[in-house]
């Protein structure tokens, strides 16, 4: 009894084998031209690493300012006739509001001690006969108060309360920084889009040269009845390989940059009494980078192949 596989299965096996052969032969061709391949791959890697790095920096800064924002409070400076007990009563009333998350009472003594610590005027402060600082309430807005206008309205409302001399929004500069970061993110995405187009053009130009170099081979394949799909296949694999290897190199560039910047960033953060550990590309973003790079390579190649093959096969 014949154990030969059905013809459709054999054709499917041949199809897979043809793709494997195209992929490996194309890779072999790229390896045999290392300088040219490296130049194309390096151009792709730099074009992808730049926006990736900017996005990572933006992410890390957004994470940092998010922490700051959580710690940023409104400061209510109470009038001179309000003692700590009055301040505590006011704090208790404010805690019942839904637009306020937390209220801390900073006594005159605690305020003076903090001022002595951070101002560097410890010696001069010893000369004061009495503590001039008022009782301060540190008011933390509710988390859902994201908008700057909401914060302003809260500040204005609290400033108008009896016993409150002055209200200050410490979080305003953090909001400004976050707006800048948001602009930076949008700009990075725009830059990334333009560089992605650049990647496709680089790959497309490289494939165009490859087509020219293999013009005779293409014409022979055309003569013996090769379909467009068959002729295009090795060039699409070339585009995919350029993209994938370029993506891997871009990932390596970004990872190296993160590693090199870790120590200086930590030192800078320490000077501001804070901690910052740079977060690089996680698994999913890394795979997305490689996938995007490969896709850009294939698209760039497909466009070039379509245009230039038509030129070689005028009928």
């Amino acid at each position: 009894m014949s154990t030969r596989r059905p013809r459709w299965l054999r054709r499917a096996g041949s199809w897979v084998a043809d793709h494997q052969q195209a992929a490996t032969e194309t890779l072999d061709r790229l390896i045999r031209a290392p300088l040219g391949t490296l130049m194309t791959v390096a151009a792709i890697a730099i074009a992808l690493a730049l926006p990736a790095m900017l996005l990572i920096i933006t992410d890390n800064l957004e994470r940092l300012t998010g922490d700051w924002r959580g710690g940023a409070a409104l400061s209510l400076f109470l009038s001179a006739d309000m003692d700590e007990a009055a301040g505590t009563r006011l704090a208790t009333a404010l805690r019942t509001r839904i637009d306020i998350d937390r209220v801390d009472v900073v006594s005159r003594e605690a305020g003076l001690a903090e001022f002595r610590q951070y101002s560097g005027l410890g010696g001069a402060l010893e000369q004061l006969k009495e503590n001039p600082l008022p009782v301060v309430l540190a008011v933390y807005p509710a988390p859902d108060l994201a908008d700057g206008d909401d914060i302003d309205a809260l500040v204005d409302g609290l400033a108008a309360l009896p016993g409150v001399d002055f209200a200050q929004a410490d979080a305003r500069w953090v909001q400004r920084l976050q707006a800048i970061l948001s602009l930076l993110r949008d700009g990075t995405l725009l830059l990334g889009g333009m560089l992605a187009l650049g990647v496709m053009l680089v790959v497309g130009n490289t494939i165009r040269l490859e087509i020219e170099n293999r013009r005779d081979e293409i014409q022979v394949m055309d003569l013996v009845g090769a379909t467009n799909v068959f002729i295009r296949r090795p060039f699409l694999y070339a585009g995919a390989w350029y993209g994938l290897v370029g993506g891997i190199l871009a990932w390596a560039i970004v990872a190296s940059a993160i590693a090199l910047l870790q120590a200086p960033v930590s030192r800078l953060a320490a000077l501001y009494d804070t901690e910052l550990t740079l977060t690089g590309l996680g698994l999913r973003p890394s795979l997305a980078l490689l996938g995007l790079a490969t896709l850009l390579g294939i698209i760039g190649s497909r466009i070039a192949v379509g245009r230039h093959l038509r030129r070689l096969r005028p009928v």
Binding site: A17, L223, V224, G225, A226, V315
Partner: protein
Amino acid sequence: MIEFEHVTKRYPERGDALRDLSFRLGGGEMAFLTGHSGAGKSTLLKLIGLLERPTRGSVRVGDEDLAALPRRRIPAHRRRIGMVFQDHRLLADRTVFQNVALPLVTAGMPRDETAKRVRAALDQVGLLKFERALPLTLSSGEQQRVGIARAVVGRPEVILADEPTGNLDPELSREIFRLFERFHQLGVSLLIATHDLDLIQSLGHRTLVLKQGRLIADAMPRPVSEKAQGEALAP
């Protein structure tokens, strides 16, 4: 099998390469195509292989009107035709086996079937032992035989040969024509463009003569004894 009806092919820079050409080649028929350089022989073959489209008139191969054939069906049409070229058109960086297999690989034939057919074709042209060789290591005659093997491996309905012995000496030329006779005897239609008038006359097949793009003679085959034919093709 092949039918030309009032075919004209005009090139903008060269003028008419073919003018109002009409002829018919039946299935299993072998014919020579001859004429001076620039007479239109290669153009005629290109029209059959759909490397060009006629400016006017109709070219039919089998039941297909080539002028109306859409682009996506051209590869399938070319696989019905085997083409042999004066300059062989082999891929230098692929082995003899891979060159001969090309029409079958492009058609998606399973690998085991491909291997069987390639070896059968190479055996027919006497080059089975060279299947792993690269084309440039072979002689000109051997390379042409590889080209013929590639042309017949797909079991085409018709073989077109454009000056297949143009670069070969008389002995090798006779060797090549012996192969063509063998395939003709298997029922394949052949249309061979050649300047070799001696062989044309000695083989006695139908001969189409072109002059400045016009068909000026269509000499039907005259009886030639097998002995005479054998002598003409003897090494």
